[in-house]
């Protein structure tokens, strides 16, 4: 029973409804961020309960990692909205938070006790921060899609409802930059912690997943560099989409086929 998990689902759904309604009203941040905040609190309680039962951060179960990812996504969304005082992206981003919070309560959340390689706070931080980084990159991915859609609308002079509701390119671009910066910093810390931890438990602290994470780091690093070198805009948006595809690849293909020691199931 995920009482708080379901509460979070309801709160996120309400936030989405409010965010859509708020699009038609002028000014202010609206109530959606508050509801997302409440949803985050509920989901955090749910995560804490799961963590107590498991004796570790709940990343080893499918439901748990979905919950953790959704929670990070919500956190990143909240930071972006508050930092840029821009709510028009809410209706497009909140559905993803909602999706993961639903998967979190639907998928199983029980697992075998943690083995020696996956205990301890360094490891917990490593995984949690990696999740946060991927959540930030996921946000950047959605923002980049919105950027490209809005860019197309502007260039073609399509002044319809989507044009009117999506934020200005400059605003989406700045939000994207914040998101990627957060992701990059957090992923770097996560990699450092991961390598430090791996030196203790593995003989050789290098594997395909680490290599892939470094490639991801490089791509997003290039993205930020381009952003500062006058390529801000559609090109950065495209690169962010490519970056996220790499992330997805590392989540699926690398996890399943290339990395053996780096998988904990």
């Amino acid at each position: 029973m995920h009482l708080f998990g379901w509460a979070a689902v309801l709160l996120y759904a309400a936030a989405e409804a409010l965010a859509v309604r708020d699009l038609f009203r002028p000014r202010g941040l609206g109530g959606a961020p508050i509801l997302v905040g409440a949803g985050l609190a509920a989901q955090f309680t749910d995560l804490t309960i799961t963590a107590r039962a498991l004796g570790s951060v709940p990343y080893r179960t499918l439901g748990g990692s979905m919950a953790l990812f959704g929670w990070m996504l919500g956190l990143a969304y909240l930071v972006l909205v508050l930092r840029h005082r821009e709510r028009a992206v809410g209706p497009f981003l909140i559905p993803f938070i909602l999706l993961f919070s639903i998967l979190a309560v639907v998928f199983p959340s029980h697992a075998a006790p943690a083995g020696p390689a996956t205990r301890g706070s360094v490891f917990a931080f490593h995984v949690t921060l990696a999740m946060l980084a991927y959540a930030a990159f996921a946000l950047s991915f959605v923002l980049s899609l919105l950027y490209l859609i809005q860019n197309r609308q502007i260039r073609r002079g399509r002044t319809g409802i989507l044009f009117a509701r999506l934020p200005a390119l400059d605003v989406i671009g700045r939000m994207n930059r914040t998101s990627v910066t957060i992701g990059l910093l957090v992923l770097s810390v996560s990699i450092v912690l991961g390598v430090a931890w791996a030196r203790r438990v593995w003989t050789v602290p290098v594997d395909a997943k680490l290599a892939w994470a470094l490639v991801t780091l490089l791509v997003y690093g290039i993205l930020l560099w381009m952003d500062r070198r006058g390529w801000a805009g559609a090109r950065v948006a495209v690169l962010s989409i490519v970056g996220f595809i790499l992330v997805l690849f590392s989540y699926t293909f690398v996890n399943l086929y290339l990395s053996h020691s780096h998988v904990f199931r």
């Binding site: 038609f24 809005q150 609308q153 502007i154 260039r155 002079g157 002044t159 319809g160 409802i161 044009f163 009117a164 999506l166 934020p167 200005a168 390119l169 400059d170 605003v171 500062r228 070198r229 006058g230 390529w231 801000a232 805009g233 559609a234 090109r235």
Partner: protein
Amino acid sequence: MNGSNDTQILVLGWNFRGASGAVRERVAFSSDEVRDGLRRLTGRGLVSESVIVSTCHRSEIYGLGNGERAGDELASFVSEWRGLDRAVLEQAGFRRFGAEAVRHLFRVAAGLDSMALGESEVLGQVRQALSIARETGSSHGVLHRLFESAVRAGKRVRTETQIAVHPLSIASIAVELAEKVFGDLPQRTLLLLGAGETATLFARHALEAGLRDLKIANRTAGHAEDLAARVGARVVAWDAVGRDLPSADVVVGTTASPVPVVRRADVEAAMRQRRGQPMFFLDLAMPPDIDPEVRNIYNVFSYDLDGLEEVAAENRRRRSREIPGAEQILEEELERFLGWYGNLSVVPTVTELKRRLEEIRDGELDRLPPDERERLRPLADSIVARLLHEPLRRLKAEKDPAKRLDRVEAIRHLFDLDREE
């Protein structure tokens, strides 16, 4: 549609459809003239309530009066007031009565009757017409409610349909596009090439959109200085345009120059200096002031007159597609208003008031033991009858329709007869 004898809502109007510019000019009223006209209209007792809507495209006199007769009297009044031949006035204008008059006002407020379909200014003008009428004391219960309903209907149409979403004028399309590139358009810099009529119009539009940093460059420096002084802008020397380009976020071309003023190389250099920060070009000149090639430069947004005309035409079509939805909303609001208005007649109000008092009587009697109930019933009946007698007599005796409607409305409100609302 109403039980107050022949009293009904009517409108007498002239708009861009039926009336020539010459006639419209004669019946266009300033706010002071509207006040004066309203006082005279109600002072002479031609109508018991009146509101006048006067904009550049229409003049409409709404009244509460005695059907066709009030219409004739209004027409004579306007003919006398504005010194226009009555036949000319009648031919150029239109009259609507009852529900048709109400529907007309709702359409006006929603922008369905406007030249620029769905435009929003007219809603403010309808609201203002009501506030002037209230100030002069010429609107009471009925027209007040009518105009408030019209404003609500107009607002609903604009929020529930997309009729006001797509901009129609070239300048407003350009401003909306630029706003969606920069986000904070008022903080950006606009460079205007040329100082003629188009430049003046665009400068005013930009100021209305909130832009504060305006620069003007013109081959004849004197003209640039004149315009700059009028709109509070800075002047850029004609031969310094290329050098000044990097500081401009939006560049608008309006000159008669036979060759492009802004060349691709200028923009490429400017973009390098701006470190890729977007630039927005709008070419309203013919032949072009801005090399059409600039649109291929990364992060440069460039539009010309033809392109924007196409957008405007497409937007007009999009707005027209919203008409059925808008009319649906107006019909709902119309029904709501007419429901309220119908209830204002004396007869149903009297019946409902009686029923309400009898309900109270029966409720109280039911609490008594049966034998006592029968004993007290005659007394209760007589109290109800006595209580009702005088108010109903006075209500029926009231000759002035507006006062009668006011009183009916007061009774309905005090005794809560419209409970479902």
